[in-house]
């Protein structure tokens, strides 16, 4: 039986570390990146370059030390942040674009026209440095699907490698996830990845629904680390998906990663 290939993008070092009280040292970040790389994780989101000089330094070391994994960094939709991301010389720069009205109007306090122009400026800036760009649709689960579909089609025209559907506040259910991912794909989006939060205990199920809808890959964290109820747990997803999808790491390696992560996260 030919299983559908799918990819894991691990964001333990970026979104996982946002979990309150979590503070990895540079040594811990390097060790976690090495573990993920050796286990066959396709892509590691190594951090947020805009956070500090120390963060940029450790990201550069992760880039230098990796064997196989692609290394991406997360950037706000802000040219200054994108420039700091470029300094880290990653394989990909992920630019996060808040797309729901609540985020556009009450977090950014801007409008859709501004959002689109700012996003295109940031993409152009990153691409001018020779970087592949992925774009995250932040708070996509509360966004207008028509607006997102049009933006996704525009992203393809702009040469964006992938877009990410982010269930930022963890309110998706599997059927809705399937429908949204399917619609984005049918509207001409670049390949779509899914980033789920576990606020309703559905991060793994929604990720499975996204894969069934044709998603390229899923964002996970070790032990489901992340804000509020956490992100999609790598081990849970790998075990749930093992009979339907061809995923790396293997269930055995995912369980080993969880065990090692416990030693790092909870042993000070």
């Amino acid at each position: 039986m030919n299983l559908q290939r799918a990819y894991i993008i691990d964001t333990t070092l970026r979104d996982g570390e946002q979990s309150p009280g979590c503070a990895f040292s540079s040594e811990q970040k390097l060790r976690i990146a090495q573990m993920l790389d050796r286990a066959g994780i396709y892509q590691i989101e190594a951090g947020m370059p805009a956070m500090s000089g120390d963060e940029r330094q450790v990201i550069r070391e992760i880039v230098a030390n990796r064997a196989r994994a692609k290394i991406s960094v997360w950037s706000r939709m802000n040219p200054d942040d994108v420039r700091l991301a470029m300094e880290c010389r990653p394989d990909m720069i992920h630019i996060s674009a808040p797309v729901s009205y609540v985020h556009i109007y009450s977090k950014l306090r801007k409008n859709k026209t501004w959002l689109q122009k700012q996003l295109l400026d940031c993409i152009e800036l990153a691409q001018s440095g020779g970087f592949a760009v992925t774009v995250g649709f932040e708070d996509a689960s509360r966004a207008d699907i028509t607006f997102m579909s049009a933006l996704a089609a525009l992203m393809r025209e702009e040469g964006v490698l992938r877009i990410q559907f982010s269930d930022t506040v963890g309110v998706m259910t599997p059927q809705r996830t399937y429908d949204c991912i399917r619609e984005l794909i049918l509207c001409g989006s670049p390949p779509v990845t899914f980033h789920g939060h576990n606020d309703l205990g559905m991060a793994a199920a929604n990720s499975m629904a996204a894969l069934r809808a044709g998603a390229f890959g899923i964002e996970t964290t070790l032990l489901g680390l992340g804000v509020r109820a956490g992100n999609c747990d790598l081990e849970t997803l790998v075990l749930a998906a093992r009979r339907a999808y061809d995923l790396r790491p293997s269930p055995h390696d995912a369980q080993t990663l969880s065990r090692k992560a416990k030693n790092i996260f909870y042993t000070h």
Partner: protein, 318 residues
């Protein structure tokens, strides 16, 4: 019509727990979104006058067991001679086994436990197949082997079915509080349900089961509304719904701003204000660097005392 059954009391052995705690736990379960509470006959007898028979399902050891006053019963042993027949509980672990379900079509009332791998399939089609093969509407009690049971239960119930789970997913079933919240957000089901009882329900659950609720457990974890990162705190200060799926007050929780490695200026300012500490604006960037350095060194967030000590140094320029 959406119908949820809570079988927490069937799973837990509450024989040795105080009757007052058992009664309060039962009464709060009734208020937490389930339509019916399932338990064994012994537990039902212990509840005495507190028991509400019309909202009670008795888990039978044998179909002929007598349960005076309680009409709704469920049993995993079948006996076609018994009338009224209890709900017959069968286990179907794998979706591929549903082809064998036709033999139960004539039974009348059925509960299917299992289907933990349903999310690997087109689950809406599987739901249709279940109904077609049985010609009746079964109850579904998904097993949480792959972390998908709450989602399976929610989708089944939104598709018109009845479902079964437990509080906090005890026993390896669907965590009912997750399904209740999902139905509230997705379908506005029971929008006036007062879920501020959940922290007390958690306390009683731990008392009865000896199982602590993980701090980041969806809906009921005590740390779910902690927030540290600068991006999140700034967003929440502008509008809490930017980064919260529902308000902490809805589930009897409270938001707590934590100061640590990922704090930003806005969250530091807010945290200092909550501590009644005033640091000149010009010194905040320096203080933030110190906070981040110390949190990284300690590999954790800072305590109030540690924040105040660093703030004092920053203010005094030492």
């Amino acid at each position: 019509m959406i119908k949820l059954t809570d079988k927490t009391l069937t799973v837990l052995d509450t024989g040795d727990c105080p009757i007052s705690a058992l009664t309060e736990f039962y009464q709060l379960l009734l208020k937490a979104g389930a339509d019916e509470i399932e338990m064994d006959w012994k537990t039902a007898q212990r509840l005495g006058d507190a028991l509400i028979p019309e909202r009670t399902v008795i888990a039978l050891e044998h179909p002929v067991q007598l349960t005076p006053g309680c009409a709704k019963r469920v049993c995993h042993i079948t006996d076609l001679m018994v009338e009224p027949r209890p709900v017959f509980e069968i286990q179907i672990n794998d979706v591929r086994e549903i082809s064998q379900l036709a033999r139960y079509a004539g039974y009348g009332k059925l509960r299917i436990t299992g289907l933990s791998n349903l999310m690997s399939y087109d689950f809406q089609s599987v739901f249709q197949q279940l109904r077609k093969r049985l010609s009746i509407e079964p109850e579904l009690c998904p097993i949480d082997e792959f972390g998908c049971a709450a989602a399976i239960l929610t989708e089944w119930v939104m598709d018109g079915g009845s479902g079964v789970g437990t509080f906090a997913g005890i026993g390896g079933y669907a965590p009912l509080e997750e399904a209740v919240m999902a139905l509230r957000l997705a379908r506005r089901h029971k929008p006036r349900l007062d879920l501020s009882i959940l922290p007390r329900l958690c306390e009683l659950f731990t008392q009865l089961s000896g199982v602590a609720i993980p701090p980041h457990k969806a809906v009921i974890g005590s740390a779910v509304f902690d927030v540290e990162s600068g991006i999140h705190v700034e967003g929440i200060l502008k509008n809490a719904s930017n980064y919260e799926p529902f308000s902490p007050e809805l589930v009897g929780a409270r938001r707590r701003i934590v100061i640590g490695k990922h704090s930003g200026i806005a969250s530091l300012r807010c945290g200092l204000s909550a501590l009644g500490c005033d640091v000149p604006e010009a010194k905040l960037p320096f203080l933030l660097e110190e906070v981040r350095r110390e949190a990284t060194r300690l590999s954790r967030a800072l305590s109030d005392g540690e924040v105040l000590a660093l703030a004092g140094k920053a203010r005094d320029g030492t």
